[in-house]
Subunit: 369 residues, 2 copies
């Protein structure tokens, strides 16, 4: 293994090319807002640019989203040869987590999901073990999150999806009721606590980097972590679903000011909200061995690692400081470790990770047009 650094651009994800499209699409999308009102469901404009789209349904708000897994299934395909398991039950959970964990950030309870399973050829479905694991994992995750599996699409797309690959995505509809649950950051303010909920590992972001690293390591996915597990197997630990935590927080009346799902862009997502606020992080959650391994072997600086991977924090809650302890307790009750990691301050929009001497400024997270 050479000590050469891996960057995201080398790994095939060039945000400078994707972000202009996102911004163009957002600007055009914004102009279509009157149609929702004409149909009797005026949009909540502040949801534009947030993780889910929200419209006003009268007695409640309705939230919707479509999210894709990314390339994590390619890791499962490779690691299967090591472990003898397809891992598609976990892959199903990852895919649903991408949609559900985003949907709940606006205060929604998930109601129904649609599956999008596009394959490169019909043969994908002839592998019974893989197909059954995918379906069973999808069902089990729906049961865990309390969401109805409403339907889906299973197209065979030769020439569009790579041979023997599967493009996995999920769309989700949710309800915000009572309407006071709506959580778009309007009340996010200096003095708020930042509570970070643990991740289980890499979740489903940073996978392209992991794949490139696997190609460079002499042992590939079979490389051992300090705890003895194969790195590839640890990569496949499924993403934590946080909907039970948010449901309990809302039911118990906690006053959530904002919620951010830590996905692409890593800890830069802590400043997801566009307000001019500084987020000072003073306490770090433990880093999962699978991510510490990647940071070291890909020779990532701390700023690169925390700016692209979740580094142990999968989900962020922003709420009044005197409620932080209750939020941590609710998460723990659902088996998810959490900590009061920092606070919101007046100042320019940026994230300061004090224990590491790392800072991200607003320009490093340009999500909105």
């Amino acid at each position: 293994m050479s000590g050469a650094k891996l960057t995201y651009t080398q790994a095939g994800v060039d945000y400078s090319k994707i972000d202009p499209l996102k911004i163009l699409a957002q600007q055009m999308a914004r102009q279509t807002a009157p149609h929702a009102a004409a149909a009797g469901f005026p949009e909540v404009e502040a949801s534009r640019g947030e993780s889910a789209y929200v419209v006003d349904a009268g007695d409640f708000y309705l939230a919707s989203i479509t999210e894709c897994l990314g390339t994590k299934a390619l890791v499962a395909d490779r690691v299967r040869a090591l472990t003898g398991r397809t891992h598609y039950d976990s892959i199903a959970q990852d895919t649903l987590a991408m949609a559900i964990n985003d949907l709940i950030t606006v205060g929604a309870r998930p109601v129904s999901v649609h599956a999008y399973w596009a394959v490169g050829g019909s043969d994908w479905f002839a592998d019974d073990a893989r197909m059954n694991d995918l379906a069973a994992g999808w069902k089990k995750t729906c049961d865990y999150a309390g969401v109805a599996w409403g339907g889906g699409e299973t197209p065979s797309l030769s020439g569009v999806v790579a041979p023997d690959a599967i493009d996995l995505a999920a769309s989700c509809v949710g309800v915000i009721r009572p309407k006071s649950r709506l959580c778009l950051g309007r009340r996010l303010a200096p003095g708020d606590a930042v509570v970070l909920l643990q991740s289980s590992g890499i979740h489903a972001n940073g996978i392209t980097l992991a794949r490139k690293l696997a190609d460079r390591l002499p042992e590939g996915y079979a490389a051992r972590l300090p705890d003895g597990r194969a790195w590839g197997e640890a990569l496949l630990d499924p993403t934590i679903i946080y909907s039970r935590v948010t449901e309990t927080l809302f039911e118990e009346g906690l006053d959530l000011h904002y919620i951010s799902n830590i996905t692409g862009h890593g800890w830069r997502k802590i400043m997801r909200h566009p307000a001019e606020l500084t987020y000072r992080i003073t306490r770090l959650p433990p880093v999962p061995p699978v991510l510490r391994f990647m940071q070291e072997r890909a020779d990532l600086s701390l700023a690169e690692a925390y700016g692209s991977l979740n580094m142990g924090a999968g989900f962020a809650l922003f709420l009044p400081e005197d409620q932080a302890g209750r939020a941590v307790a609710v998460a723990r009750r659902h088996g998810i470790a959490a900590c009061l990691a920092g606070r919101v301050e007046t100042g320019p929009r940026r994230v300061l990770i004090e224990p590491l001497g790392v800072a991200y400024d607003a320009e490093s997270l340009r999500l909105r047009g």
Copy 2:
């Protein structure tokens, strides 16, 4: 050009492998129904297996769906070299049509859509003309259908999506209000008229067959149709969006008993509803030159052509016979030709196309588990 036949299995779409998965997924999905009720939105069970999933929101029903384009964008990529146009404005319309034309079959008015544009590498978005046409076509189609573009996902998925390809899909949420608009075929009955609405061409089904045919033809997509147009260009005529027709039909109080979007499986979709009923077709709409050409050049029998392509009929309405004339008039008012093509009769579930001597029995359309 050899006279050898092209079949769907040769063209890479083997329904015998896809359908068992669909059935497995449907069976598991069905078991998650109680979650929607627990969230306060009990599902309308009869919508399972229909084109959109419907839940009861109290004062209205809510419908949702996710649909993909298929492989039509690959045709646009090839034909661009002939015409000098990207055709992605049309491709955007095709993608949205797949979702909207399915959603409206249950009686829904579309409210919002999410875009799913997954590429094989960030470079896809560096082609400004293509990217701008896609975004502009998406916006224009949303305006035509009166639907708000709520957001979307634009992932770069190297290794999952083929290099320089794009996997396009759309998810859509709609409202059924008043609730009497709910259209799931409960009142479909012998004596009902079958009204067929014209297609603009191939729409977005049968594309894999078209691509295989293009590889076999000496001139490929540049082959000329009798009307002088290039076959490849005609393939890219965008799918008709039927939502304005259905909106007017419901507003004017027509009593729609069932609606079927004619997509994969061609005219077999006329017997989409599971009831034991016979559909006797006595009048045929004109066949678009682009489809007649394919039937002839791929040496498809009439049964194969009408069983896999739309052959001029993109959408089917089932309603009392004395309202058929009004339905035809409404479609024409929106610039869409239509005809009273046949009627529903007692008898085994099958489609009889009398003028062609073609029949499809129930076994040829197994969509439900």
